[in-house]
């Protein structure tokens, strides 16, 4: 029975984190995915099927995190499991509690930073490039989105494997909030650039498209204020566009 993982095991765990959301369920959220990620750890640290089964059962519990930020927990858990083996911990509850404690922050930080800020901002930049320069927008978008994506995954993994329990201090709200604020401001500017670029693109199509663009923008703002569902707004602006076309024919 080994008490330490090898580099190949840690690489295997890291690669598995890309699959973590595949078995997402309402009962465990990404609990089963987390268990899938730590399988190389079970194979290295435990020899008997019974011990492996107990290990897997411990990590099959409810767990949630943003998929990119999960490495902040995976690295630390790998480190702690090694320590538990080396120092013969009497029980593994501290690791389970640690995972529970990280569930909230990892989900919130990731959702706020990536889904709410980086993704919309990079899409806006991609669309501005697309409307001005054409198909080059596609690789540009993939590149500018995936640089922070892979950076967070790799940094989270390295840092948490080094720090173990102390990784909690890195996940302070203020640190990511400050980055998020800057991205928000950049995103707002990108949204402004997109609006003017899209309006100009509409004008280049013909005047009716521009008129539809302006009217639909006003209608969308009004409907958002009235808290109308997105699907109805989409149908409303499409119909408005056809109506404008009918009037300007």
């Amino acid at each position: 029975m080994a008490v330490r993982t090898r580099k190949i095991d840690r690489f295997n765990i890291f690669i598995r984190c890309f699959f973590i959301q595949a078995s997402w369920s309402f009962k465990a959220l990404i609990g089963m995915g987390f268990c899938f990620c730590v399988i190389p750890l079970a194979r290295r640290l435990y020899d008997s099927p019974k011990d492996r089964s107990e290990f897997l059962r411990r990590h099959l519990d409810f767990f949630n995190s943003h998929p990119y930020f999960v490495t902040y927990c995976l690295g630390a858990v790998t480190k702690l499991e090694e320590q538990a083996q080396q120092q013969q911990w009497p029980d593994w509850r501290p690791i389970s509690i640690f995972k529970e404690r990280l569930t909230g922050p990892l989900g919130v930080q990731g959702d706020q930073l990536f889904w709410n800020r980086i993704k919309p901002m990079t899409i806006a930049i991609g669309m501005v490039v697309g409307l001005t320069l054409g198909r080059i927008a596609l690789p540009v978008f993939l590149l500018i989105y995936n640089i922070p994506h892979f950076y967070i995954r790799i940094k989270g993994w390295r840092l948490s494997y080094r720090m173990g329990f102390d990784i909690v201090s890195v996940l302070s709200t203020r640190r990511f909030q400050a980055i998020g604020d800057k991205i928000s401001i950049l995103g707002l500017a990108a949204a402004g650039a997109l609006i003017s670029t899209a309006a100009w693109w509409s004008y280049e199509q013909n005047f009716a498209v521009l008129a539809s663009f302006c009217l639909s923008a006003a209608l969308t703002m009004a409907l958002i204020r009235l808290k109308v569902a997105v699907k109805f707004i989409i149908l409303a602006v499409t119909c408005l566009g056809i109506l404008v076309g009918l009037l300007t024919l």
């Binding site: 890309f18 959301q21 595949a22 078995s23 997402w24 369920s25 309402f26 959220l29 089963m32 995915g33 899938f36 399988i39 099927p49 019974k50 492996r52 089964s53 059962r57 099959l60 959702d111 889904w115 899409i123 669309m127 001005t132 054409g134 927008a137 596609l138 995936n146 994506h149 604020d181 995103g187 707002l188 500017a189 990108a190 949204a191 402004g192 650039a193 997109l194 609006i195 003017s196 670029t197 899209a198 693109w201 509409s202 009716a208 498209v209 521009l210 539809s212 663009f213 302006c214 009217l215 923008a217 969308t220 703002m221 958002i224 997105v230 699907k231 499409t238 566009g241 404008v244 076309g245």
Partner: protein, 230 residues
């Protein structure tokens, strides 16, 4: 046409996998997914335009935790497939095909979203079976994960197949009844949908930071960019 539907459905499966199951490197975003469909079906420009039109429509619906969301990525891929296959049969009905695809984009996204929910429920059943086992083996967890990926693929594949089979012939029949001279009437729908997307995006960031000057700088920058490059 059947070969095209099959190829588009395979790509739809990959889009669904990237959306929720694997990697999430954003090749599933409408601007990417629709462009690839365009490339596969031999009409890249139309796929590219469709992707840009629908890209921002569901930007404010965040796939957070257990929240229900419309599967806009698969929906947009299905809509682009529909537009491309319809335009192939009725080239004079170009804007009509786009407008019809934009309207069908909403129910198709809802269908995709419901299939995602079903997939998650099936995952829950698999999870329950695993936790009540006496002896858990790594290969069982691996298999469960593989089922999850397969189910995600099926979500995209089924949505694309059903929508293409149901709507392409229906849309062709419907549009062929309308004279092609009316095609231009449907062109402004593109501007309308694009505007809605832009407003959704601006509203998302406006909620986070209400700084008018930043928005105006962006507006000016966009105009300069456009004038300079076109």
């Amino acid at each position: 046409m059947w070969a095209d539907i099959f190829i588009a459905s395979l790509w739809g499966g990959i889009v669904a996998i990237d959306t929720t199951a694997l990697m999430q490197i954003m090749i599933s975003r409408p601007m990417m997914a629709c462009s690839v469909v365009g490339l596969l079906l031999g009409n890249f420009p139309l796929g590219f335009v469709m992707g840009f039109l629908v890209e921002l429509l569901y930007i404010s619906e965040l796939p957070i935790g257990a929240a229900k969301f419309a599967e806009g990525n698969v929906g947009s891929t299905a809509a682009a497939t529909l537009a491309i296959l319809t335009t192939r049969q009725l080239p004079q009905h170009y804007f009509m095909s786009i407008a019809l695809a934009l309207i069908l984009f909403v129910p198709l996204s809802s269908l995709g979203g419901r299939l995602v929910l079903l997939k998650r429920k099936i995952n829950g059943v698999i999870y329950e079976r695993l936790i009540y086992r006496d002896l858990l083996a790594p290969r069982q967890i691996n298999a469960a994960q593989l089922y999850g990926i397969l189910l995600s693929f099926l979500v995209g594949f089924i949505t694309l197949t059903i929508s293409s089979i149901l709507f392409v012939s229906g849309a062709t029949w419907l549009l062929s009844r309308i004279p092609a001279t009316y095609d231009k009437i449907f062109q402004p729908a593109m501007g309308g949908v694009l505007a809605a997307g832009c407003v959704f995006l601006a509203h998302l960031f406006w909620k986070q930071h209400r700084k008018k000057w930043v928005l105006f700088i962006g507006l000016g920058l966009g105009l300069i960019l456009f004038v300079k490059y076109l």
